[in-house]
């Protein structure tokens, strides 16, 4: 019993020692949201991203240390659209931070204001795999959606930290100007490859493809979330050969064997296209994500010619 009381005492002591935060403490579920937040918040905010750019955002481990991170946060940026449904709710439940709950201004759903793709128009059930009824949650992989997210963040940060509202708006303006230039640059680079047919591992490149004129015509996964089966792969190979798919695009964390096999069989090129900031060492922020991905795709397509 004595140990119990001394533990209480110890913990209380440690509790009293934690300093007050002056900067807005922002926690992002995914590094993409974190990167945009850094662009808008600059040195007025502190950003922590829970998931790593190299991992599967649907299956991030609900590490207990995240509970502490969320407990201290002023703002939580989550994707919504069921992106984090498998790991975030239990963390937020235990974080005991009313700032991040429900309609609190510190609870930011990044999908807000974004038109989601792949919203099922017919009936949905789980025999179709893990279909997200709200739509495809990988929306951050379209740089134009970056503008919507950035505007949202500038507005939220300005509301929570009114003293710096003008600073956030100025950063938003700069971010938008830079992104506009980049959008033109990337579009120009990808223009010659418009209409290229691609196979992807998961339905996670729909936004990127729509932005840059690539045509996603098949997936290594037979249904969202399921592992490839031999029958699916052989049917996919036949279909992709006929359609003339040129690229097999996968994230860095996917198993390589089957995608490589498919690429070889259909005479396409396997290319690793990170879907998130930090997915590759060179990808330090939201801009370099698309710089890198566009360069990878162009290099692969040039090799094919």
């Amino acid at each position: 019993m004595k140990t119990l009381f001394s533990l209480i005492g110890l913990a209380a002591l440690l509790g009293a020692a934690s300093p007050a935060q002056a900067k807005l403490n922002v926690v992002a579920t995914l590094p993409d949201y974190g990167s945009i937040a850094e662009e808008i918040g600059g040195d007025k905010i502190k950003v922590t991203s829970l998931a790593k750019g190299t991992e599967d955002p649907h299956f991030v481990d609900a590490r207990p240390s995240f509970i502490r991170v969320l407990n201290q946060a002023d703002v939580l940026l989550e994707g919504g659209a069921e992106m984090e449904i498998g790991w975030l709710p239990a963390l937020v439940n235990n974080a005991r931070n009313p700032k991040l709950l429900g309609a609190a201004p510190g609870h930011v759903v990044m999908a807000q204001g974004i038109t989601l793709l792949d919203v099922p128009s017919g009936p949905v059930d789980r025999s179709m795999g893990d279909v997200h009824p709200a739509g495809n949650p990988h929306f951050a992989h379209d740089p134009a959606n970056g503008k919507i997210m950035a505007a949202h963040l500038a507005e939220v940060f300005g509301r929570l930290d009114a003293a710096n509202a003008a600073f956030y708006q100025a950063n938003l303006k700069r971010f938008n100007e830079r992104l506009d230039l980049k959008l033109v640059e990337w579009a120009k680079l990808m223009e010659p490859y418009r209409g290229t047919k691609v196979v992807t591992y998961h339905k996670s490149y729909e936004y990127f493809a729509a932005r840059f004129g690539l045509k996603v015509i098949g997936q290594i996964e037979p249904k969202p979330g399921l592992e490839p089966s031999p029958t699916h792969i052989s049917a996919l190979i036949t279909r992709m050969k006929e359609a003339g798919a040129k690229l097999v695009m996968i994230e860095p964390n996917r198993p390589r064997k089957t995608p490589q096999y498919v690429a070889d069989a259909i005479g396409a090129k396997l290319v690793i296209v990170p879907g998130m900031v930090g997915g590759q060492e060179k990808i330090k922020d939201y801009f370099s994500l698309f710089d890198y991905d566009v360069a990878q795709i162009m290099a692969a397509l040039k090799e094919l010619k």
Binding site: M1, T3, L4, L7, I8, A11, L14, G15, A17, S18, T54, E55, D56, D61, A62, P64, S65, R68, N71, G80, G86, W87, A90, N94, R96, P98, G102, A103, A104, H107, V108, V109, Q112, G113, I114, T115, L117, V119, P123, V124, D125, R126, D130, P133, A134, N145, K147, A151, E155, N176, D180, L183, E191, A210, R211, G213, G225, E227, N253, R254
Partner: protein, 484 residues
């Protein structure tokens, strides 16, 4: 007794202090409050609308500026105006859902989507197999274990959960089982509310719930790594685990690492308080008839303190250490108590390049020690006399699981329980026994699994037994979030 009384009174004070605090924040009487709220709502709506108009204007301007540079996209995305306040995704209804009215042939969606008032799910756990032991019910002490040769419906669990209001979250797990006689039994496994907005990192849970003792006890059977319950849990905490109506406070400590302190106060009687005021199935508790006891003071309730801390060893490895206790009176006498102490360790490795949650390695170990003060018994024609004595038992299990490729998990568990020699000999509830269980699990998706397990059992005074169990699980409805 004394210490328990102190904990009892202090936690009662703690609880009442919290509720007092909650009252103080609402000094207005209901009507005034309502009026004020209405006014505030009205003002907020006006403000919201104004802001919306402003941001719309701004958006349009920005879009006009921005869009001229952007190459048109096949998907025809017209970014919707930002709705400034709610921060909830229902602000953006999916286009498809809006245009197509519901027709009777469409399925009714209970789970998923953003309008989440009540999540409902149904989980079924069924096992089949064979054992060399004829007395499978005593070989397998867990309430959700396979109970006979052939098939066992281990657990049919309906779960409801959701936010109740801005102050509470609620959860209920109603389970059904089909016993070996073919009778269906319904049980309220858990039904509790949990606060979501208490100050000082506190959280109160109240209702019927699993005590936070160790790691496995509060986990529901479908999230276990093996078909059956560890022996030590069955022996000390009971076939159905330690759970009872009560209230608990937990405090998320302000340490740089995650650590949490729990203190639970629960009823101390019934089969879900097995080592406490429970008469056991045959009315004999370690050879002594159960005594009728009543709660006279706070000291007669069950107290379950727990402290748990977790450390990230590296970016891919986490270790979690816990210490628990359970203190309360038992059923052998008017003034006899039981103390259970537990230590647990959980280690996990999951690379930050995981795809669909694989690969991973987990290692989970729990050790428990029980001190059971048994009263003297004069004996009768059928039962021998027994002295007043303290029964000391200990045991534990250790299990390792390796998710070696997507959907596949290999597990191995070792179990050991024993008791120091006492007046009653032999006693199958206290005799030494150990078990080794390898298992292989395949998850076709997140919502189903098939598991095969072999048990090598060695019981003192009984002998060696072999069992093979195959387990099947399916989950319908809400997607549960995985806890660490």
């Amino acid at each position: 007794m004394n210490v328990r009384n102190i904990i009892g009174w202090s936690s009662a004070l703690w609880l009442s202090a919290i509720s007092l605090q909650a009252q103080e924040t609402n000094p207005l009487d209901p009507v005034q409050k309502q009026m004020k709220q209405m006014q505030e709502n009205f003002e907020r709506i006006i403000k919201e609308q104004q802001r919306q108009i402003e941001s719309l204007g701004q958006q349009v301007k920005e879009m006009q500026k921005g869009m001229t540079n952007i190459v048109p996209v096949e998907a025809k995305k017209t970014p919707e105006p930002l709705l400034p306040t709610t921060g909830q995704a229902e602000a953006m209804p999916p286009a498809g859902a809006q245009t197509k009215p519901w027709s009777p042939s469409d399925s009714i969606r209970l789970a998923g989507g953003q309008q989440n008032f009540l999540n409902i799910s149904f989980d079924a756990l069924v096992a089949g197999g064979w054992s060399s032991a004829e007395d499978v019910e005593s070989l397998q002490p867990g309430g959700h274990d396979p109970k006979q040769r052939g098939f066992t419906v281990q657990n049919l669990e309906t779960t409801f959960d959701g936010k109740i209001d801005p102050y509470f979250r609620g959860q209920a797990n109603i389970i059904m089982q089909i016993d070996p006689e073919g009778e269906t039994a319904i049980e309220v496994e858990e039904a509790f509310l949990e606060t979501i907005s208490l100050p000082w990192n506190l959280q109160v849970k109240a209702g019927q719930y699993f005590s936070e003792f160790g790691r496995l006890n509060p986990m529901h059977p479908h999230s276990w790594d093996l078909v059956d319950q560890p022996l030590v849990n069955g022996r000390f905490l009971g076939a159905d685990g330690l759970r009872n109506p009560g209230a608990r406070v937990s405090w998320l400590a302000s340490t740089p690492f995650y650590s949490e302190l729990f203190l639970s106060m629960q009823n101390s009687q019934g089969e879900t308080a097995f080592s406490f005021r429970d008469a056991h199935e045959d009315g004999l508790v370690f050879g002594r008839p159960a005594v009728d006891t009543r709660v006279k003071g706070f000291g007669d309730l069950l107290y379950v303190p727990r402290y748990v801390a977790a450390f990230d060893l590296t970016d891919e490895q986490t270790v979690m250490l816990g210490a628990s206790g359970a203190f309360g009176p038992n059923a052998t006498g008017k003034n006899t108590d039981t103390q259970i102490y537990g230590a647990d360790l959980f280690y996990k490795w999951k690379p930050r390049t995981q795809s669909k949650g694989f690969p991973f390695v987990t290692w989970q170990t729990e050790w428990m020690y029980r001190r059971y003060e048994a009263a003297a018994y004069a004996g009768d024609l059928d039962n021998p006399a027994l002295p007043a004595e303290t029964l000391k038992d200990w045991g534990g299990y250790s299990q390792i699981s390796y998710g070696f490729r997507k959907g596949w998990v290999a597990s191995l568990r070792g179990d050991y329980v024993t008791g120091r020699q006492a007046g009653l000999e032999p006693d199958p509830d206290r005799d030494m026994r150990w078990r080794v269980s390898p298992a292989l699990t395949y998850f076709p998706s997140e919502f189903s699994k098939i598991r095969v397990q072999y048990n090598y059992d060695d019981r003192d005074n009984v002998g060696v037994d072999h069992s093979i169990w195959i387990q099947f699980e399916f989950l319908l409805g809400a997607h549960a979030a995985h806890k660490f």
